[in-house]
């Protein structure tokens, strides 16, 4: 599979370089294609390549490599891509700890980094950089929206839980920033934990009227399956990551009716999104997740900037990126002063459509939302 893929990409880049123009752009995509987080990276890669294919973007060449969710490997790949492959743009990283290892040094070397997923708070505030653009969200955003939704839903006592690592603390901080009620218990689990009996017993006993949890990838699947088996009737809410298209099938019917928050969903009614969802299903035979939509937007952002400026003139290219003059699958999309999105975050519900579990938008959580760290960034 990996070989086939590499062959495909080599083929793609060769056919692309055949038509090479003076201002070819070379994009290095470092993403997670193996291990527990593989589903996220596969969707991101597929979404990115689909956008280039749909736009017929012959002047953009892509190199894809698997980071295996290991920071040290991501750093090696980035160095190789910058020095040997001479890429202009890096993108693709899924996990915040990997982004923190790669991004600060890459942007110092005049490489543009476009984040299609991770949005650690450190890169949004004082450490913001003119070469770093986040096309997804700042890490806290979806959790803030969940906090806001919990208020609206009238929950007064909420049990909150996340893994004990930076994105986990960001998540609970974000939730608490917007939630006005009472947090009955706050639990940090181990990263990679697979048995949640301990936490589930505490939830049963807590008297909470809702549970908020952020457990990305396989951790969330394990938790939801066990939660369902334990027959507790306390409703759960979470960020879109805990109920994205790539994991819903594994979670199973226990996820039905669960409320989660996301900046994107497949039923958002705008032209770009309708075309994206149809093309993705046609090409890959499955429904896209938010990870695919974010990478699709990232590729379209590059295409839009390339139409306006030459990558050789970095300053003009950055200005073109910042205009964000592309049709986002999310509808309205613009960058704030810190090159992070200002966007609307929706409330979704897990439903079953034609025998497939998926999400449906049921409302808006935060309109035109900007992250809490923008003020600490000195850029304008």
């Amino acid at each position: 599979m990996k070989k086939l893929l590499t062959a495909g990409i080599v083929g793609l880049s060769m056919s692309v370089s055949g038509l090479a123009l003076a201002d070819d752009i070379k994009v290095g995509m470092i993403t997670t294609l193996s291990g527990g987080g593989a589903g996220l990276g596969i969707d991101a890669r597929d979404g990115f390549l689909l956008a280039l294919q749909m736009a017929g973007a012959d002047n953009i060449e892509v190199v894809v490599e698997d980071d295996g969710q290991r920071p040290e490997l991501a750093v090696q790949i980035a160095d190789r891509m910058i020095q040997n492959d001479q890429v202009n743009i890096l993108t693709g990283i899924i996990f915040s700890n990997l982004a923190m290892a790669v991004v600060p040094s890459a942007v110092q070397q005049d490489i543009i980094y476009l984040s299609n997923n991770a949005g650690p708070s450190a890169l949004a505030g004082a450490q913001c950089h003119e070469n770093y653009f986040n096309v997804a969200w700042q890490n806290d955003n979806l959790h803030e929206a969940a906090g806001s939704y919990a208020n609206e839903a009238g929950y007064e006592n909420v049990f909150i839980m996340a893994p004990n690592y930076p994105a986990g603390t960001d998540a609970l901080t974000g939730f608490k920033r917007f939630f006005d009620g009472n947090v009955v218990n706050e639990i940090y689990t181990q990263v990679g934990q697979s048995d949640y009996a301990n936490e589930i017993s505490q939830i049963r006993d807590s008297g909470a009227d809702a549970v908020f949890f952020f457990l990305p990838g396989g951790m969330g699947i394990s938790f939801m399956r066990q939660y369902d088996q334990s027959e507790i009737d306390v409703p759960v809410i979470g960020p879109g990551f805990s109920f994205s298209q790539d994991i819903l099938a594994a979670v199973g019917p226990g996820a039905l009716g669960v409320i989660n928050t996301s900046q994107w969903n497949k039923d958002l009614d705008n032209e770009a999104n309708v075309a994206f969802v149809a093309a993705f299903q046609e090409e890959y035979g499955r429904l896209p997740s938010l990870y695919a939509s974010q990478a699709f937007d990232t590729a379209n952002l590059i295409i839009s900037a390339a139409a306006k400026a030459d990558i050789a003139d970095l300053e003009a290219f950055r200005a073109a990126l910042k205009e964000a003059d592309f049709d986002s699958t999310r509808g309205d999309f613009r960058f704030g002063n810190n090159n992070h999105p200002i966007q609307t975050i929706y409330v979704r519900e897990v439903v079953e459509e034609d025998g497939v579990l998926t999400n449906r938008i049921i409302g808006t959580a935060l309109e035109d939302h900007q992250d809490a760290y923008a003020a600490d960034c000195s850029m304008e």
């Binding site: 639990i187 940090y188 990679g192 697979s194 009996a197 301990n198 017993s201 505490q202 006993d205 399956r225």
Partner: protein, 306 residues
Amino acid sequence: MSIALLLEQILNGLQLGVMLFLMAAGLTLIFGVMGLINLAHGSLYMVGAFACATVAAWTGSFWLGLVASLVAAAAAGAIVEMTVIRRLYDRDHLDQVLATFALILIFSEGTRWVFGSLPLYLNIPDLLRGTIPLPGGGRYQIYRIAIIAVGVAVAVGLWLLIARTRLGMRIRAGESDREMIAALGIDIRTLYTVVFAIGAALAGLAGAMVGALQSVQVGMGEPVLILAFVVIVIGGIGSIKGALVGAVLVGLIDTMGRFLLPRAFSVFMDPSEASLIGSAIASMLIYMFMALVLAFRPRGLFATAK
């Protein structure tokens, strides 16, 4: 904190404990009889889980899957013993560690090659679905109670096997004097293969049962293997009784620590900080306990006389 919660957490601790016992029993038996350190024991756990998931998916029956896990893990164990492990008995522990570490890599990549990197999911059988009420108002999952019951049954079964059967007598004899038992005309090679297969089958059983709660994926055995080593070091290497006591202690200490430490810290600090620090310390607790045991009883709680 209610009585119901405490009761549930004790059951959670026991469930983790008996699951660790199934792993540790095989590990300690193999070390006790053959003097072999088997790092690949976690791979046999994985083999059991994959066999159960595959057969359950084919036939739709978890029970057939469970049988398949025992058979597949025992067969894998026997084959590995006859082809690789047999050559290692006379070597020192470093060679054994190297060779069995290589086996981990072979098993992991082989499984990835056959099944891919994405996890498989195994459903709990209908018979054991649901929960039962506990005194004090709590509820507990039937499946987890079943795991505890299986663990207790295996402990009793192993005790009967070792204390009351001819095979058990040979195992005990093999533990105390390897040369003598061979000199008495016992087929020591077959005995070793049988012991290795029994240990492997127990690991496979644990993998299959846990697979239905969590997920079945490459590398799932290694975190459990580390805990199983902690268990046998605490219990005394080579002692089945030690493995049982060690496993239950580790299960209870880990569960109670993760549950009680954050609460204890929140008495005198901000709840958010208490949770972060409490959970970090809780994850180290069993290793601290192991260090404490080793400080006072360097050969473990139930050291075998050698």
